[in-house]
């Protein structure tokens, strides 16, 4: 049974969930999907292209505010804000990627970190206040199900988010397994060799940054609609760091890893809070260490490893492991 064969089963399961889950659970699952899209964007950049970003919370914020401002001030319907947020963030990411190209590894991480640090304060900036609502933020209306569908607002938003998530995951999958995907990975593995093979590394890196920001921006817009509120305090530096945590825990160079990471960042803080009110972050930290220790290649990597263990006899394992390393 390959991972691909599981996809339809997972999709059917996801579609059936609203039949059994309460509105509150659906809201949580909607947030899982939102985070999964954001992490997918980060995985494309960090996992596949090897550029470390500590600033994806900033693109998430731009997406969220684009949606909020478009709904609040321009009167756009919620669904129309999704492509708009993607476009704005894609362009912003591409432009940010251009100068950032000169920065490698840790230096890029610091540049993106600076962006994430600055974002909440930019959103409070008094000349933008008319649009952003300043520290007060903007309160949004929750969309009801259209065409008189017999769905609650939460059910509808879940399906809406699920549909967008499926489309974006399919796009990412198609993008990464083809020529472009190979070029993106080649730049990560050996930039000089990639250039020698005729890959325009600077263009590809900027484009990857743009695509990554686009995904995260769409997630931000969906998140804003689900939460019905945006404020600078929703997008602090913690958000960016938590995205990176989710990405690494889920499996950084993996598409399904984004989903696992999203489950982690949505549910582990709640779990930590239930275990201890005195030190929820200590519990959170322990969970992180446990995951990294037990599954050093992320949950996605851990699952692959487990499957090969179960499926292949001992003597084939070394060979399989070798094969995996070479891909």
């Amino acid at each position: 049974m390959t991972a691909r064969a599981l996809v339809p089963a997972v999709v059917v399961l996801a579609c059936a969930l609203p039949l059994v889950a309460s509105d509150y659970r659906l809201f949580q699952l909607t947030m899982v999907l939102v985070y999964a899209i954001a992490l997918l964007g980060l995985n494309i950049l960090t996992g596949f292209n090897g550029q470390i970003s500590l600033g994806h919370g900033a693109f998430y914020a731009i997406g969220a505010y684009t949606a909020a401002i478009a709904m609040e001030h321009a009167g756009l319907p919620y669904w129309a804000t999704i492509p708009l947020a993607g476009l704005v963030c894609g362009v912003a990411g591409f432009l940010f990627g251009l100068p950032a190209l000169r920065l490698e590894g840790l230096y890029l991480a610091l540049a993106t970190f600076a962006l994430a640090l600055a974002m909440p304060q930019l959103l409070k900036y008094k000349h933008f206040e008319e649009w952003t609502g300043g520290v007060q933020g903007l309160v949004l209306l929750k969309p009801d199900a259209p065409f008189g569908l017999p769905l609650s607002a939460d059910q509808w938003l879940y399906f809406f988010t699920l549909a967008i998530a499926l489309v974006l995951f399919a796009i990412a999958w198609n993008l990464l397994r083809g020529r472009i995907g190979r070029a993106i990975v080649a730049i990560r593995d050996h930039p000089i060799a990639a250039q020698a093979m005729g890959i325009d590394t600077s263009l590809f890196k900027s484009l990857t940054f743009g695509v990554s920001a686009l995904f995260t921006g769409v997630a931000g817009a969906l998140g804003a609609i689900a939460v019905q509120f945006v404020a600078p305090d929703s997008f602090t530096i913690f958000l960016s760091i938590i995205f990176l945590v989710g990405s690494v825990i889920g499996g950084v160079a993996s598409i399904q890893g984004a989903l696992w990471g999203a489950f982690f960042i949505q549910f582990v803080p709640n779990l930590a809070d239930q275990i201890s009110k005195a030190a929820p972050w200590a519990i959170y930290g322990l969970a992180m260490i446990a995951f990294v220790y037990l599954m050093p290649t992320g949950v996605a990597g851990g699952i692959t490893l487990l499957r090969t263990r179960l499926a292949t006899p001992r003597r084939d394992r070394a060979e399989a492991q070798l094969r995996r390393r070479s891909t």
């Binding site: 309460s22 509105d23 509150y24 659970r25 809201f27 949580q28 947030m31 304060q121 409070k124 008094k126 300043g134 520290v135 007060q136 933020g137 309160v139 998140g223 939460v227 019905q228 509120f229 404020a231 600078p232 305090d233 929703s234 602090t236 913690f238 958000l239 803080p269 709640n270 930590a272 809070d273 009110k277 005195a278 929820p280 972050w281 959170y284």
Partner: protein, 404 residues
């Protein structure tokens, strides 16, 4: 046909009888004969986690109430969950509490952004969002948000009280205001302006703001001095408050100074500024300070310390936020006592909006909690204090909102 009518009448009578029997006890989700379930979101982690002690103190207070037999025989089940000071997490938390845990109401969620994020939801669901832990003035808006109520004196009121004091003691004052450019600063300035009324234009000679991101407020203080102001209202958060006090002293500016109650920390503001530079500054208080020797031997503070030792021994005995938690919890217990056996959300809100001269033990004597269907601001009075180089000394009478 007749039989039909007869049976229908029977059903009606039965249900009427049942209604009469149950008239004494009415419950919404979260209330039973033995328990009252209350929810809360609180930043136990994240950038504002220092405030988490409020939630723990409130839980400790309810533990004491339960040990004493509860309220009208019902135990309080208090579910306080972490929101990390993140509005999306607060929305998730509020939804969990209302939809999953089925609490009767939310009590004391902390933070202006988090409460703004859940306000619409709580009001749409008609679940009380009671005694929110923030000083913004927008919680007193019963027309638009009848299910949301504040508790502490808001910044607007505090600004009015200082302006009132200026009018009384120095009617020809030339006022300079330094304020933080956000809802906190703006609420405050609007309060000062409202209390000054027509005189605001002539009395306020300078109003300068700063951003939380600014490194210092030195240039703002210099420009305030240059405006010729002889009264300085300092609406700043602790770091900037210390800077402003020091700078004013160093450049030889000697106005009458008013300092927001947000920044009265002796260790966090007055010491860094230089205690001798802050002598004479006026501020305000509404709760008993655990470190104030004037309160130390009162029965209220003795009880408070005994309670801290028994129910919250890991808490800081010098931290006045633990007095805050203790006092606001007394207020909600009063609301529940008043509600009696009618534990519907509507009645909780009705009782919260009909507190009459309620006096929690640890509030400064003379301050009373009063609310009405059109007044959702429970505490509206403070007592002025003056810094003597070591601690804040109370003076004068308790001062209330002049708008009443």
């Amino acid at each position: 046909m007749n039989a039909g009518i007869a049976s229908l009448a029977g059903v009606v009578m039965l249900s009427l009888a049942a209604g009469a029997a149950w008239a004494q006890k009415k419950y919404d989700p979260g209330a039973t004969d033995t328990t009252i379930k209350i929810g809360q979101t609180m930043p136990y982690s994240g950038p504002a986690s220092a405030y988490g002690t409020i939630g723990r103190a409130e839980a400790a207070y309810f533990a004491m109430i339960n040990d004493q037999g509860g309220i009208n025989g019902r135990k309080i089940e208090f579910i306080s969950i972490d929101d990390g000071y993140s509005p999306p997490k607060a929305v998730e938390g509020a939804r969990r509490l209302v939809e999953q845990d089925q609490v009767l109401f939310l009590f004391g969620p902390l933070g202006t952004p988090s409460n703004t994020a859940i306000q619409k939801y709580m009001n749409a669901k008609k679940v009380p969002q009671l005694f929110v832990a923030t000083g913004a003035s927008k919680w007193n808006d019963p027309k638009r948000f009848p299910w949301t109520m504040g508790w502490q004196p808001n910044y607007h009121t505090e600004g009015m009280i200082y302006a009132q004091h200026i009018l009384k003691t120095k009617p020809d004052a030339k006022i300079g205001i330094l304020y933080q450019n956000d809802d906190f600063g703006k609420d405050y300035v609007s309060g000062v302006r409202e209390a000054l009324g027509d005189k605001a234009g002539s009395m306020i000679v300078s109003e300068v703001s700063y951003e939380v991101t600014d490194p210092t407020v030195d240039s703002q203080v210099v420009s305030l001095q240059a405006s010729g102001a002889d009264v300085f209202i300092n609406v700043t958060t602790p770091k900037f408050a210390a800077q402003a006090i020091r700078k004013a002293y160093d450049i030889g500016w000697k106005p009458v100074q008013y300092l927001t109650n947000v920044s009265v920390g002796v260790a966090s503001v007055m010491q860094p500024a230089g205690p001798e530079k802050g002598i004479g500054i006026i501020s305000s208080a509404y709760l008993m300070e655990p470190t104030d020797p004037g309160w130390y031997d009162t029965q209220a503070m003795k009880d408070w310390r005994a309670w801290m030792q028994k129910y919250y021994p890991e808490g800081n005995i010098e931290d006045n936020t633990n007095v805050y938690g203790y006092t606001v919890a007394q207020t909600v217990v009063q609301v529940l006592r008043q509600a009696g056996d009618d534990l519907t959300r509507e009645n909780i809100m009705k009782q919260a909006a009909s507190l009459k001269d309620f006096v929690p033990t640890t509030i400064i004597p003379g301050i009373k909690i009063n609310t009405s269907p059109t007044d959702y601001a429970p505490i509206e009075s403070v007592q002025l204090t003056r810094f003597d180089g070591k601690s804040w000394v109370r003076f004068g009478d308790v001062m209330g909102d002049v708008s009443k």
